[in-house]
Each structure stands twice: as C-alpha cells, then as structure tokens.
C-alpha cells in the first residue's frame, strides 16, 4: 500500500473507534461548553473588547482539545493494541500522521460546534470573516494536534498521564496559540487579515511545517525506541 493510503487507513480506524463510543468527542464538547460558561463569570461581555473574547476562544479550544489528544494513544493501551500497531508493517510516520489526522478532525468538529455556541453566549457576530477564520482555525488546530499527538505518544505509558500532557503541551504550543489568538481576535470582530497581521499567519504556517517535520522524523524513536 502507498504511504498516503496507510495514513488514511490508520485515520479511518481511529475515527471509527471514536465514533462508536464518542467518549473523547463528547467529553471534549461538554468541557468546551463548561469553560465557555465559566468564562462568562470572569468577563462581563459589555466591558471586555470583542477582540479579547476571540483570544479566549483559543484557550477553550486548547483545553478541550487536550481531552481528545489524551485519548489518541491511550486508546491503544488496553489489549496491547499499541504493540500490534508498532509491529504492523507500516512506518511510524504513517501511524503518527494517521492518528494526528483523526485527532485533527475530531478537535475541528468540537471547535465548529463550540464557535456558534460562543457567538450566542457572548453576542459575537463571529462569521463576518468566515473563510479566513476557518483557515486560521485549521492552521491553529493542526499545530495543537501535531504537538498533542507527539506528546500523547510520549506520555502514553507513564504515571499521571492526564496531568503531564497539558503541562508539556501548553508551553510548547505557545507560539501557535499566540498567533491563532491574535488572528482570531481580529477576525471575529470583522477585521480582515491585513499587512500587520499576516506575520501571524506566516508564524502559524511555519510552526505547523516545522513541528510536523520534526515529529515525523522523531516519532520512530518514540514508538520503537
């Protein structure tokens, strides 16, 4: 089988497993709504600039997304499925990219539900720059997913996995989150991406490319040793 096909097979397997139980997706969605509600007590919609609300959205995405990413490799631990996957005749890179793509689609699904909820709760007309916003969401989410999937693999066998993953992920993700926050803050208030903000878009693309390449290179060490 070709590399792309192997990636798609792993992705389809992960999506099927998740959609049958929906445990990570439901937990992540519910958590996103809980944070959105909690944030409303911290900020009164009237005196906080709408741009800041757009920034907060990425905290919601990052926190709720971690719940999906936590499961990515942890799902394979019962019944020693991870050993079977590693022993299967596919490269670590294909396994990693398949898993990352599956998590990416799940996190994206959570975000696409959370966005309108956010708009309703905080009276933000978030869809004014719909396609640029989708681009930023996709780029930011891929950054979150790549780092999250690598660290999900790193922390799969260790004590306190659920505690370690966020502790390791968020400092590493900071540049991607910062870029996504800056752009989303502008876009939900209807400001298009201009010459001063295009730097952030470049940063997001750079972050995604660099860490995808690094992860694909290093994943074999994590899976096989």
């Amino acid at each position: 089988m070709s590399f792309a096909r192997l990636v798609l097979v792993v992705m389809a397997k992960d999506l099927r497993a998740e959609l049958r139980t929906k445990e990570a997706l439901n937990a992540s969605l519910a958590f996103a709504v809980v944070i959105l509600v909690l944030l409303s007590f911290v900020i009164e919609s009237d005196d906080v600039p709408q741009k800041a609300l757009g920034n907060l959205l990425w905290l919601v995405f990052a926190f709720a997304g971690t719940l999906v990413l936590n499961r990515s490799f942890a799902r394979e631990v019962p019944n020693d499925c991870l050993d079977a996957l590693v022993a299967a005749p596919i490269s670590g890179a294909a396994l990693f990219l398949g898993k990352a793509l599956a998590s990416f689609l799940l996190v994206l699904a959570m975000e696409l539900v959370a966005l309108p909820v956010f708009g309703i709760f905080y009276n933000v007309r978030w869809a004014q720059q719909f396609w640029p916003l989708m681009l930023v969401t996709v780029l930011g989410t891929w950054g979150v997913t790549v780092i999250g999937t690598v660290f999900s693999a790193l922390t799969v066998n260790i004590r306190l996995r659920e505690v370690m993953l966020p502790m390791l992920t968020y400092p590493m993700l900071l540049p991607a989150l910062l870029g996504a926050m800056e752009l989303t803050g502008d876009l939900v208030t209807g400001t298009p991406i201009g010459p001063d903000t295009v730097t952030w878009l470049k940063l997001l693309v750079g972050f995604d490319v660099l860490f995808t390449a690094a992860s694909v290179t290093l994943i074999e060490f994590i899976l096989v040793g």
Partner: protein
C-alpha cells in the same frame, strides 16, 4: 584524577567569582540607575550560561538518539538541570532589578515571557523524566522532548517579540550598545566564573546520575537472584 580536576575547577570558579565581586564593588555607579545596575554582571552571564547549557543538552540528546549510549543521557539531564538553575538565577536577578528600576517585580515583556516559557519547557523535561520508570524509554523520550523544546525556543522568542516589548534593548552584540569596554571585560570574566561553576555543578550531577544507574542495576541483579 577526575576528582582532582573537579576540585581544581571548583577552586578556580570560586577564585574568579571572588575576584570579580571585588572588582564589581569597586566600579563606579551607573549614572542613571545607581548601584542596582551592577546586577547586570550576574544577570546577563547567567542567561548566556543557560543558553550554553541548552545547546549542550540538545547536542547530548541528539547523540543519545544516535548512539543509545547512556552516558549522553546522563550528561543531558545533568546539564539541563544546571541550565535551569542558571535560568532561574537570570529570572530572579532580572526581577530584583525590575522592582528597583521599573517599580514592578514582573511585566509580560518579550524577554521575560520567553525566558519564563523556556524555564517551563525545560522544567517539563525534568517532570517527564520523573514520570517514566523504564530507563531506556525515559532516556529516549526525554531526548525527543529536549530536541522539540530546543526547536520551540526561537519561535517562542520571536512570537512574543511581535506581540510586545518593554525590556531595555540589549547593550551587547548590537550596534546601539553603550557598555564601556573595561566593564565588558568584567562581565566576560564573570561569565567565565559562572561557566566554570556550571561545569563543576554538571560534573557533580553527572556523577550522581552514574551512581543512580549503578544502584538501579545492582538492585535489578539482586531481584534476579
């Protein structure tokens, strides 16, 4: 033999630092800032030492992944811990200076924030190590994390730099510097002292790491009997 070299290096570090303290005390006060300015002789070299430590940790981690030789793993953890201590010294001295000059202990300026994020990243490295029991897995995962963390450092720095800046412009290695040449000599000599101290600390930590490994293998042998 190794002990003697360590003692000599340690004594040398103490001598250099003691001499520098005397020289720094004798320097005139800076026109605008007064005596607090002299903290720069520790603040800046501590940061440089931490950077040297981070580069060494990266080299050791790559070497470990290439050779699977545990001496590189021991060196990586030893140098990361010492580097973290120096980065902490950098943050604390900076904070003390800021309290006097800016009137605040902390501000979310680019250098401060990126230094803190780096500190958190490498603290995550140590936490990850503590959480993994199996030595080979611990060494491999830690090495992968160290490489990813090092890749992240420049992106973190530039992203926060685009975000905001308040830190005084660096006066070294830049065209707008106005640091007297003889003061630069004192600063470099203090860096030498701190570097020597860092080397001694790393060597001591390295020996602890080796003893730990020996104890572990003896314990395993005892269990096997």
């Amino acid at each position: 033999m190794r002990d003697k070299i360590l003692y000599v290096l340690g004594a040398l570090a103490v001598l250099v630092l003691a001499r520098n303290l005397y020289v720094i005390a004798g320097l005139p006060q800076e026109a605008a800032q007064g005596a607090i300015f002299k903290i720069i002789f520790f603040h800046v070299p501590a940061a440089w030492t931490a950077i040297v430590a981070a580069i060494t940790a990266l080299t050791m981690s790559v070497q470990f992944l290439r050779t699977k030789d545990f001496k590189y793993d021991a060196a990586a953890v030893a140098v990361t811990e010492v580097g973290l201590a120096f980065l902490a010294a950098n943050l604390v001295t900076g904070s003390i200076w800021a309290r006097v000059i800016w009137g605040i202990w902390w501000t979310w300026d680019v250098r401060l924030t990126s230094a803190l994020v780096c500190w958190l990243l490498y603290a995550g490295y140590l936490m990850l190590r503590h959480a993994i029991e199996e030595p080979t897995q611990r060494a491999t995962f830690a090495a992968v994390f160290s490489i990813l963390a090092f890749l992240d450092v420049p992106i973190v720095y530039f992203s926060i730099r685009w975000f905001r800046t308040q830190h005084p412009a660096p006066v070294f290695l830049s065209s707008n510097g106005s640091f007297p040449a003889d003061w630069t000599r004192v600063l470099l000599s203090n860096w030498l002292g701190l570097l020597l101290l860092a080397i001694v600390m790393t060597a001591i930590r390295l020996r602890q790491e080796e003893s730990q490994r020996e104890i572990d293998s003896l314990r395993r042998a005892a269990h096997a009997m």
